[in-house]
């Protein structure tokens, strides 16, 4: 009973926040709603007994969005006084979201301790192996049955890295790179000179 209640809570919240993500006019608000949607998806995964995927969702997506925010804050010229004013204005919404997240966390923990949701399987193949946590089960499959695809996925990441370097890296003249051994080997005698200028005359550098 409580599982079904939690399922509809998470699913309903996820659909709602997904809809608001595309309807919100302010892109920053969209991103916040997106986080809530991911969080609810993670809750559904916990209910289904797939805690590894739930943690993955939170760490990868919520974490990625946080990093994206950081980039935006670093790259844009933001007026912090205005931001603080915005903070006061958005405070109630933020508190509301925080309260929702807290309640959901609480419900999730209660439900988890009451036993996870029983899913029906289209065939027996999706049932987890007995006696394994699903992190172990995923690991065992990934490095045996899906070895080929796992390695190919590694190549995809390599190509993404090469692509990013190709498109953004450029050689610039006049850049002073670090040369550790040269910098460490430098002595005070090479770096400073002692001159006695005549009175009224400057030194030439």
């Amino acid at each position: 009973m409580i599982q079904a209640f939690a399922f509809y809570l998470f699913a309903g919240m996820m659909l709602f926040s997904g809809a608001v993500t595309i309807l919100a006019r302010n892109p920053v608000h969209s991103v916040l709603w997106l986080i809530l949607a991911f969080f609810n998806a993670a809750g559904l995964m916990v209910l289904a007994g797939a805690e590894f995927i739930a943690m993955l969702l939170v760490i990868v997506y919520v974490g990625a969005v946080a990093v994206l925010f950081l980039f935006v804050v670093m790259m844009l010229d933001i007026d912090f006084a205005e931001l603080r004013a915005g903070f006061i204005k958005n405070f109630p919404l933020g508190m509301l979201l925080a309260a929702v997240l807290f309640v959901e966390l609480f419900v999730g923990i209660v439900v988890r301790s009451a036993g996870s949701l029983q899913l029906s399987h289209a065939s027996g193949t999706a049932a987890p192996a007995a006696g394994l946590t699903n992190t172990q089960a995923i690991g065992a499959l990934l490095y045996s049955k899906y070895l080929f695809l796992f390695e190919a996925a590694g190549i995809i990441l390599l190509v993404a890295m090469i692509g990013a370097i190709v498109l953004t890296h450029r050689q610039r003249g006049g850049v002073r790179g670090q040369n550790v051994s040269k910098q460490v080997a430098r002595r005070p005698e090479e770096a400073t000179i002692n001159v006695q200028p005549e009175v009224g005359k400057g030194v030439s550098l």
């Binding site: 399987h121 289209a122 065939s123 193949t125 999706a126 045996s144 049955k145 899906y146 070895l147 080929f148 695809l149 390695e151 190919a152 996925a153 190549i155 995809i156 390599l158 190509v159 993404a160 090469i162 692509g163 370097i165 190709v166 498109l167």
Partner: protein
């Protein structure tokens, strides 16, 4: 699972991956100076991999002996046919690219590596026996392709092409993934044989139908079939010409191969469900490709619409849903790849006095007087694309229409033939500009040996001499098609 057997079957992929990684280290240590060396080594690797695929194709390999990693990967005759065309397209790209990119001071050591990894992804695509392998191969190819489209990063049009391709390609990947998850949800399997068994021959559930539609929509984007063709003209025009050569050849083969595999192997028990979608896409592509090309004044855009048009003709072969139809489609595909190579190599040879590329059709006027050899080759390509009989391009259209008539799709074949008459108009317009207009005297520039050799070889293939190859081509395409139907 016998790991050693699997590793033997995936030898081509291992060879490309390992040599790609080694060449990446060479690129990292010796920089762009090594670009030519890496290109040559990559061409050698691609040719070696194509040679590795020959025994499977000639021996009509099929069935469980060719399955690696629990049927996620199938090294059968069908994948061998696709791979030979893919590696050929990638190798030609690497041969023509350095001269072009050098003129823009943009030849970098990463270029051949990206093409190599794209070829790796495409090899996985045509060999996929599982929705996961399908998606991973597709993404590997697409990611490399986005970067290649934007390779001339100081050029606005190239950057625009890269961005457009990336945004629309990501959307298509999302649609495809959505379809894959629905298919998995409603059949309980990701492997093609499992999906086929789970769907059965009965009434298809609504969810599985949605999955099928989304998967086909995602794949239609990758082959630039209408109504998902919008990106093609812009990307073909903006991307550097060698990269456009690549896009018009290898990824087309890979995505069409994938489409055939998904349709026949995964959804083969439900032909009625996908045949109407394929027929719709085929008709729309033929008509949009033919009508859209009429107003174009840039020859690369013209070739883009021509590729949409040709994909439509190829889809007629798939729409038959028969072994003869798939075999005809493969014959067409092989001829189309050579036509594209010939066309784009000829376009690459069009350069003005300052060695800048000439892309406007008006600037070609009077080419027959200034560069008669080039004009003959370009005219042969245009006649061949139009499907005018003595040239080999006619044969591809002929076998596809023949298969359609045998499969009782007479109306489809009739509309296709009518639209190919419309198509002939703009191909002939290019010939008319080259032969009958006053000389604009725009095209100058010397051409290097590699381009000339490639163009001559491709033109001989397209000339009536190509008909000597028909028996051989039909035998190989037949082997490939039978592997698909007897999986």
């Amino acid at each position: 699972m016998d790991l050693l057997h699997s590793l033997q079957l995936t030898l081509a992929e291992e060879l490309i991956s390992v040599s790609g990684l080694i060449l990446l280290l060479v690129a990292a240590w010796s920089g762009d100076k090594a670009a030519r060396l890496i290109s040559i080594a990559s061409v050698a690797v691609l040719v070696a991999c194509a040679a590795l695929a020959v025994p499977a194709l000639a021996g009509a390999a099929a069935g469980p002996d060719t399955y690696a990693f629990g049927a996620q990967y199938k090294a059968d005759a069908f994948s061998a046919f696709g791979k030979i065309l893919i590696y050929l397209g990638a190798a030609v790209t690497l041969i023509v690219a350095p001269a072009f990119l050098d003129r823009f001071n943009a030849m970098r050591a990463e270029f051949p590596l990206l093409v190599l990894f794209a070829a790796l992804g495409m090899g996985i695509m045509v060999s996929a026996g599982d929705l996961l392998a399908l998606y991973i191969g597709l993404e590997l190819n697409s990611l490399a392709a986005y970067v290649l489209a934007a390779f001339l990063r100081t050029d606005d049009r190239s950057a625009e092409a890269g961005l457009k391709y990336f945004v629309l390609g990501s959307l298509a990947s999302g649609i495809l993934l959505y379809g894959i998850s629905l298919t998995y949800g409603f059949s309980g399997h990701t492997d093609f044989a499992g999906i086929r068994a789970a769907l059965g021959a009965g009434v298809m559930s609504t969810g599985a139908t949605f999955g099928l539609v989304f998967v086909l929509a995602g794949l239609a984007f990758k082959i630039s079939a209408a109504p998902f063709h919008m990106w093609t003209p812009d990307v073909y025009e903006g991307a550097p010409t060698p990269v456009t050569t690549f896009f018009a050849t290898a990824p087309k083969v890979a995505a069409l191969g994938l489409l055939m595999r998904v349709s026949i192997e995964a959804f083969g028990s439900q032909p009625g469900a996908w045949q109407q979608i394929v027929i719709f896409a085929a008709l729309l592509s033929i008509v949009i490709g033919a009508l859209g090309a009429i107003g174009q004044d840039n020859i690369k855009r013209l070739m883009a619409y021509s590729s949409i048009n040709n994909v439509g003709f190829m889809l007629i072969g798939l729409a038959c849903g028969t072994q003869a139809g798939v075999s005809a489609m493969l014959v067409y595909l092989a001829i189309y790849v050579v036509m594209s190579i010939a066309g784009f190599v000829a376009i690459l040879m069009l350069r003005d006095a300052d060695d800048r590329p000439v892309e406007s059709i008006a600037d070609l006027s009077g080419l027959s007087k200034t560069r008669p050899g080039l004009a003959v080759a370009l005219a042969a390509v245009m006649f061949s694309l139009a499907g005018i009989p003595p040239l080999f391009g006619f044969w591809g259209k002929f076998v596809v229409f023949q298969a359609a008539v045998q499969a009782n799709l007479v109306a489809l074949a009739a509309i296709g033939i009518a639209a190919s008459v419309i198509g002939a108009f703009y191909y002939l317009k290019v010939v008319k500009v080259m032969y009958f207009d006053d000389a604009a005297d725009k095209v100058h520039g010397r051409n290097d040996l590699a381009h000339t050799v490639l163009l001559v070889a491709a033109s001989i293939f397209l000339s009536p001499l190509g008909y000597l190859l028909t028996n051989w081509l039909h035998l190989l395409a037949g082997n490939a098609a039978s592997a698909l139907f007897h999986a």
